[in-house]
Structures are given as C-alpha cells and as structure tokens.
C-alpha cells in the first residue's frame, strides 16, 4: 500500500477518509485583520480548516498569503490559502508557494480568479500566465519532485493543493472534462461552488467520481432574507430555490423579535441542508462540506451537528 503523505490536518483527515467541514474567511480592504480573526476564532472549534479568499470579484483586499499566515498565527486555525492566477505570473507564483510554506501554510486552493475587469481596479493588467489546472501541476512538481521547471529547490515546500468545481455549470460536460484535467494535474481535493439543486448535484458528483478526488461540497447557509435575496440576484449562475426565498421572506416579515429571527433562520438552514447533505453522503459522493457563508460563524455548531449525526 502506498503511503499517503499528509502535510496538514486537512490532508491527514482527507487521507483517513474522515468527513470534514471547512469554512471560509474573507479578509477585506484593510491592514487590520481583527474582524476576520474574531470570526476565525468563532468557527475554529467546528471546522478542520478555513479558506482565506484572494480578492474575490477582482476587488482588491489584503494579500491572501499574508492574511492566511496572520490568521493561522493568531488563532491556530489551519487555513486553505486561496491563490488565483489572475495577478501574478508563473515565476511570481512559484516564489509565493515557497514563501507560503516558509510562513507555515500547508494548503492551497488553486483558482483562476474573477477577471480584473469586474473589480475595483479594472485598469490592472490581468495576468493569467497559468490557469487553475497548471497551477495545480506547478505545486505538485514543487512538492513531489522538489523542482521548478526541472531546477532543484534546496528545501522544497510541502503543501496540499486543491481546486474548484462548479456543479451549476452549463454545459456540464465541459466542466466535467475540466475537472478531469485538474485531476490529471494532481489536484488533491475539490471544493465546489455553492449548490442548492440536489438532483443536479447528484448528477455532477456522480460524473466526477471517476477522477477519485475527494469533494467538499460548497454550501451557503443564508443568515437573513436580504442575504438570500442578494445571493440569488447577484451571484451569476446560482439560483436560490423559490420556496427557500419565500420561507426566509416570511421570517423577515412575520417575526419582529431579532433574536427569534436569527434562531429561525438558523433552524431553517439546518432543516434545508441536513437532508441535502445526508442524501449525498448516503450515495458516497462527498468527503465533506465547505461552508462559504462568510460573516455567519454562528451557523457552524448546526453544521457540525449535521455532519456528526
């Protein structure tokens, strides 16, 4: 039996086949990470690791490698450093991977990144020297072979590299073949885009099972009606089911007490996601859950409960 190398808690849990929960942290346009660190501390008891985003939507934030390091240092919570290929060329990224290791980062999620044209510095040069698959390949060469372009690294980095997948993608066939490329490049885990459609998710996960890469399902519990509505309206390619929107709207309209409102939203999230996740686990399609709902750490005990029961 081949020995599975694990460089992180996440890598170890995946190798053992444990069903895991990861969270997401979204540092902002700031040098002060105290809010993010507070949130990280709140979710830390419930998750094995938390992703740290890299200027999502092309809107510039504090550098994700620096933030990942600082959050890990301040909280002890292991992080998944999100690295997009949008802003740095191959040479720069290779340097950052070594730097990330030196800063104690042991997981990286390879992403293309939203185009610069979408963000708040649209005049920036979009780089995209690599893509999300070739970044995976680069990390694996550096880690497994200890080389970059065949040149030896004196002390090679050890990081696990994951990639994203979108079960909502249409046509789905193209997305599935793309996951095949990422798997071929050596991706060790997948975190999916947010899903709400169970049938579509089952179809997608069944299709990509052949690549034998553990999948963490992206979910987005909605902390309020405004959040649910905004997500439905503004996130391209993801629709929140109408009955959910109606249910969340009824909480906003009919319940005046804020505390009670919060409890109801939490409960409804629990009631929606529990059967959803249970069904997928029954079909052996998941290695875990990746909760992308930022600024909603109070939901994690409920998610932990879903996973453990």
């Amino acid at each position: 039996m081949t020995e599975v190398k694990a460089y992180s808690k996440l890598g170890e849990a995946l190798a053992k086949g444990e069903f895991i929960l990861t969270g997401e942290l979204e540092p902002e346009k700031t040098t002060d990470l105290s809010h993010t660190i507070h949130e990280a501390k709140e979710m830390a008891p419930y998750v094995i690791a938390a992703n740290v985003t890299d200027s999502p939507l092309g809107i510039v934030t504090i550098n994700s490698m620096a933030a990942t390091h600082l959050i890990q240092k301040a909280t002890g919570l292991e992080c998944v450093w999100q690295m997009t290929v949008r802003d740095v060329n191959k040479l720069g990224i290779a340097g950052m991977i070594m730097g990330a290791h030196a800063l104690g980062i042991r997981n990286v999620l390879s992403l293309t990144g939203d185009h610069t044209a979408l963000g708040d510095m649209p005049e920036s040069k979009p780089v995209f020297d690599l893509d999300s698959a070739t970044l995976v390949k680069l990390v694996r060469e550096m880690v497994d072979k200890g080389t970059i372009n065949g040149n030896e690294i004196e002390a090679p980095p050890t990081l696990h590299v994951g990639a994203a997948a979108n079960p909502n993608a249409d046509p789905m066939g193209a997305e599935i073949l793309k996951i095949g490329r990422k798997a071929e490049a050596g991706c060790e885990f997948i975190q999916t885009q947010v899903v709400y459609d169970l049938d579509r998710t089952i179809e997608f996960l069944s299709e990509i099972k052949k690549y034998k890469v553990p999948v963490l399902l992206g979910i987005f519990p909605m902390k309020s009606y405004g959040m649910a509505k905004g997500f439905d309206t503004f996130v391209p390619g993801v629709s929140v089911p109408k009955d959910i929107l109606a249910k969340w709207k009824s909480v906003k309209k009919e319940v005046t007490d804020k505390k009670q409102q919060k409890e109801l939203y939490d409960q409804y999230n629990y009631e929606f996601f529990k059967p959803f996740i249970t069904e997928l686990r029954k079909k052996d399609l998941l290695a875990g859950i990746h909760c992308m709902a930022v600024h909603y750490p109070r939901i994690f005990p409920k998610l932990k409960d879903i996973i453990e029961n």
Binding site: T112, D114, A117, F128, D129, S132, A133, L177, E184, G237
Partner: protein, 223 residues
C-alpha cells in the same frame, strides 16, 4: 487579414502636432487596412486635410499608399514627393502603428528630423464580417493551437486567454467579462470539438504559453 484601426480623438492628434509646433503637414494615408476601417484611404486623407486646414495648418500634400507598412513601397512613394517631405514639419499617417514606424524607418537616413504622428489607434488583427464589424480572432501568439481546438482560438476568444478553460466565470456559455453578453471561448471550443467528435482534444491538459519564445521583440528573418 486586416490590422483594425479606430480614429483617435481629434484633439489628441492636434495636441500632439501642437506640442511639436508643427505648421506644415504631409498626410500619408493607408489605402488598404485603414481604408477598410474608414480610418484612412482617400476619404480619410481628404477629411484630415480639411480638418488640418480649418485649424490653421498648412497641408503640403496628401498621398494614399497601398502599403504604408511595407518599407519598400514607402521608400518608393516618398521618394516621388521628396520636395514635399523636405518642406514638411511633420508627417501625419492615417494607418496602423506599423505605418508610422515604417515611415520613420524609411526616413531615418534622409530626414531623421521629421516627426511622424498617427491619427489612429491600432486595435487588433481582425476578421471582417462586414464593413464596420471587425473581430479579434488572432493575437499572433506564435504558437497556433487551432489544430487542437477545433479551429477556435482560446487566446483571443477567452477573456483570460486560458489554456485550460472554461473558468468559473462562465455562465450558460457566456463570459463574465462584458456582463455575460459574449460567448465563452472555451464553450465555443467545447461545442465545436463535440460536433467533430473530438472531445478527447478538449480533455487534454495544456501547458502554459511559452513566453520565452513569444514575449519580446519578435522578428521573422529567414534570409
């Protein structure tokens, strides 16, 4: 193949001329690509001639040349009007960026003191659907992938020029850049390869472009 150009704002052109204190202008207009783009040709030459006069410039001559970008043609055409060239404080070209640099190259030895300006912005190497509808379909990357991608170029049709697309910015076959109005290049490739029964080519993991070969001061010199 056409080098697609668009007109610069007039004020920008006049500002460039005024910065050099130009009075006497020779207009050289491209009769091929720029004529097609309506940024040059005979009409462009006449239009600019009028505009320059209105602004108080003295237009010495206007010529329309078939290949402003070809040093040989330019040398011949400018030699014919050498007296005009001598009299000019500046040359205004109605062509792509190649035209400007071709004229400078040709005049390096005989008239290095004459500045050459352009009235146009060079956009891209374009495919013509019809006049007024031009599309970038090739970036001259020097590493043509069309044989592998069903004849659709990912470098130009993908907004991120990805070698392994589509990315997560694709929704219903459309691209996140430009508000989901344009087709995602990698979905065009997927659909085309599907039609051809060659999705095996779509599945292929491709290495990044090799910028050591394409990134700088490229030239094709074979004799």
């Amino acid at each position: 193949m056409v080098v697609i150009t668009t007109k610069k704002p007039e004020e920008e052109v006049f500002e460039a001329l005024n910065n050099y204190k130009v009075k006497n202008v020779l207009v050289v207009s491209c009769g091929v690509c720029a004529a097609l783009c309506q940024t040059g040709g005979t009409e462009g030459a006449e239009e600019w001639s009028e505009k320059l006069k209105e602004r108080g410039f003295n237009v010495i001559n206007t010529i329309v040349s078939d290949d402003v970008c070809d040093n040989r043609v330019m040398k011949k055409d400018l030699r014919k009007i050498d007296d005009d060239v001598k009299e000019a404080d500046a040359i205004l070209t109605l062509s792509c960026g190649l035209g400007v640099q071709s004229i400078i190259e040709v005049l390096t030895k005989t008239h290095p003191e004459i500045p050459v300006f352009t009235a146009n912005n060079t956009e891209f190497i374009g495919m013509t659907e019809r006049i007024g509808r031009f599309y970038m379909r090739c970036q001259g990357c020097g590493n043509c992938l069309l044989n592998e991608t069903g004849g659709i170029c990912p470098i130009t049709t993908c907004a991120k020029a990805l070698m392994n697309g589509p990315c997560g910015g694709m929704v219903d076959g459309k691209c996140e850049v430009g508000d989901y109005e344009k087709d995602c290049g990698w979905i065009l490739i997927y659909n085309r390869l599907k039609e051809l029964g060659r999705l095996d080519l779509f599945s292929k993991l491709r290495d990044p472009l090799d910028w050591s070969k394409i990134g700088h001061q490229r030239e094709v010199v074979w004799r």
